[in-house]
Amino acid sequence: MITIENLHKSFGSNAVLRGANLHVPKGESMVVIGGSGTGKSVLIKSVLGLIQQDSGSITVDGKDVNKGDRDAFLARFGMLFQGAALFDSLPVWQNVAFRLLRGSLKKPKDEARAIAIEKLRRVGLTEDVADRLPAELSGGMQKRVGLARAIAAEPEIIFFDEPTTGLDPIMSGVINDLIREIVTEMGATAITITHDMTSVRAIADKVAMLHAGKIRWSGPVGDMDASNDPYVDQFIHGRAEGPIEAVR
């Protein structure tokens, strides 16, 4: 479904992606792991067109992501941002129903609100948060609202950027379980970016490790511990010693 081939992206003299290749079949949950600053976010932002690649190709269902109707293309996606990226000036329900209140997916206000409240319930939040502002919520609640927004329009493809960063282990577990359940029940194709190995094991069907601008290893999550790749091994066990330099 999503195919990334020989993707290159530099920022000034810093070559972040140096020929990354990745294929994510329809309905699969792919988790991309890798150290900080290795270009994981750049990878998914390139798919969405938030960052323009220098070279290489990105296709979704065989179509170049940089060509064709942009609105129709983006309507297929949902994304949970690292910091939730909720709109401060809008109440929670309008954040969740943002896409349903405008554009090609516009619905009557009452219907959009009802869908927002249903999605909030789906992520474990009650109706009373619907009229609160994002700043009034805890970090974990904001992440859940971000998740509700990502799934509000029932997208085919969902990206999760560091979904558990900054959350306590219990809330991380809640978010991981929610992501797994939602991806399974919606049949969505998902790419998750994380360094959290608990998340990897909870969310992934397949894992890809990004290192030095390339996909170093990829395979089913069950094969990860026996990958025999020293980079993967060092990363998943969190060792300071190994081929990945601790100071980057």
Binding site: K45, L48, G49, L50, R70, D71, L74, A75, F77, G78, M79, F81, Q82, G83, A85, L86, F87, D88, F98, R99, R102, G103, S104, L105, R149
Partner: protein, 262 residues
Amino acid sequence: MIAAVSSFLASLGAAFLGVLASVGRLGVFTGQTISHLVRPPFYGREFAHALLQIGFFSLPVVGLTALFTGGALALQIYAGSARFSAEAVVPQIVAIGMVRELGPVLVGLMIAARVTSSIAAEIATMKVTEQIDALVTLSTHPMKYLTLPRVLAATLVMPLLVGVGDIVGIYGGYLVGTGRLGFNAAAYLQNTADFLEPLDVISSLAKGAVFGFIAALMGCYYGMNSERGAMGVGRATKSSVVAAAILILAANFLLTEAFFSA
């Protein structure tokens, strides 16, 4: 010696190219903003919200600025004209000074301080917290949703604010003139009304529209191009206000030249 001159010229050239690049980027941004005016969708709610924020909530600061400036202007003109026994011109000079120059310029600068800074800080914060990226992923063009409503609202509402500033400024002069300087109230108002011409008012309102456009555009431009972190937001806010103030003063000169050069 040659190396030093060469190095100086190179740095001069680099600075000049940097200025040209900035002007080019701003030109493209301005063109993109205007182009969205004729390309749907339009976000009416955002536009109404911007009208309220930029127009209605600026009234107190605009009114107070104009009131005190009008009063001080009356005192200054009275003191200055007394040197050649021409105290009677106070109403006329206050009126023409407020309407042609001080009203639009001071309202423009106050809006640059209040609105430009607010727009730049808000959009820059949205950028560093990935809210702008979130807008894109939700099929919403940030220029249409954030920039156009603010720029349009400021352009349309600023003439009204300048009109209010002109009237309140003249009223400030009137209060000082009649309460402190001994002018007859009816005569003061009559002199003011007789002396002002339609072109004075038209130029004032036109300046307001241009200054509003500049103030909102600079806020949006620096906000959208903010660097990361708190320092980036602070720098964007500062730069937006400085640029808006300078451009407003430069535009004021050009518009005055266009309206009133013989």
